[in-house]
Symmetry: D2
Subunit: 143 residues, 4 copies
């Protein structure tokens, strides 16, 4: 990994995703093989009961996993989600949504991550979803 600054690259990649910026998602923790994304509540992110929409829950799970996996890839790689599967465990009801993803298996071509999503109300975290995400590293990628 030499002195490749994966954190700078990840923050840059994240910021280029207009959808994530538009909804207000932020990377709130980032380590080699781990990423946390936080998203404060907004009315326009909700379903009929004013809970975070399942599409938003999937979005933060997939992206936290993508960035966690990206952190373990070689310099110059690009990351692509191949598939993601989300189990919705409880209503995503809260002031903030937090997705925490970690790499389960980092491979040359494919990397598999788990992401847990928590809805936070007055500081109390409640697990509301768990996801598995398969990522592909694209090598020698030029933007």
């Amino acid at each position: 990994m030499s002195n490749y600054d994966f954190k700078a690259v990840i923050h840059e990649t994240f910021a280029k995703q207009q959808f994530l910026m538009h909804i207000g998602a932020q990377i709130t923790a980032l380590e080699h093989g781990f990423c946390e994304i936080s998203l404060p509540y907004r009315d326009e992110l909700t379903q009929q009961n004013k809970f975070f929409h399942a599409g938003i829950v999937g979005t933060v799970a997939d992206n936290a996993a993508g960035m966690a996996g990206f952190s373990t890839m070689e310099e110059g790689s690009s990351v692509l989600s191949v598939e993601y599967k989300v189990n919705l465990l409880a209503p995503a009801k809260g002031d903030i949504l937090i997705a925490r993803a970690r790499v389960i298996k980092a491979g040359r071509t494919l990397t598999v991550c788990n992401a847990d999503v928590f809805a936070v109300t007055e500081g109390i975290e409640k697990l509301c979803a768990t996801a598995t995400v398969t990522l592909m590293a694209l090598k020698n990628y030029t933007k």
Copy 2:
């Protein structure tokens, strides 16, 4: 089904989901066991390459499936996504995103749907994702 107007109930349920309204999703076809959702391109729905974001692709797949499944449930039911799995097959690059979902198995408690998502460019549809969605019917649900 007697004269239960499932279409009216689905359109009403759909319109109550602020996130779907916010991004501009629309139900463009609806039959018993089938639903199509369309979403015109907007910059704020994109990832770094100006394609529809994977979270948006998952959102329309899950929601089309939810409405397709809902159409087969008893009057007075509410529908909940239990889990969804999306395989991203090609870049979601286009002017409009279309998700078409159909019920594979309608059950008393659980209903399983398939949803295919197409990115449309100048009228040419390209399959960009396929999803499986498991739904649960909540009975005697009072809003």
Copy 3:
């Protein structure tokens, strides 16, 4: 594809899988992008109600998909299942279990297939499972 005899290679690969031979699975149809596997009932393949075991249902789904995907890969490739997801829709009760898989997206590295599994009783087929399978092609593979 020139005159590469993918059918011969697939039958050979299939026959080398001792588990498939042991349970009595057979390829009963094979085309470019399509494979059908059939498995006659045996007591030792059942769960507590004498239905085919869910592990057997997953096995035939995954393998039919693997062979369907393999049929679209370049000569000299080897095929690997990356992940599979099975929705169990109805009891796998019958005299024979049939999995039919088709390629949804054939890619250079990854190929995605759908497989439907039917339990057959006195010639009547009943859909009992549907699966999505992601495959990876290993190139220049030497056995």
Copy 4:
């Protein structure tokens, strides 16, 4: 839970599954919300490289999850796998296959488990698969 002996019921349910008995699977650990299944190597459980077959890997993952989930269900319940998804992370090469499953979310109707599968060679465990399994509790079930 009163004095309901869930362990006895689980061992009995497990032993009634002829397929699991046939391949030699055993419950080697069982607690409330946790189950471990072990399966010694046999030639007839392998694929072309003499590794455990992916269908066998899925079988032990699904069953360990089923028993883990069953342990948290009410007396008199029966358990059904709704869907399972397996990510195959490394070749299942070893003398013994071990699946360890734990409940992530126990619900009245649906319970979600994670299962990790390890291939063990000379006592060294290597993670070869991870699975998510959705279970349904059938109440007042009479055999």
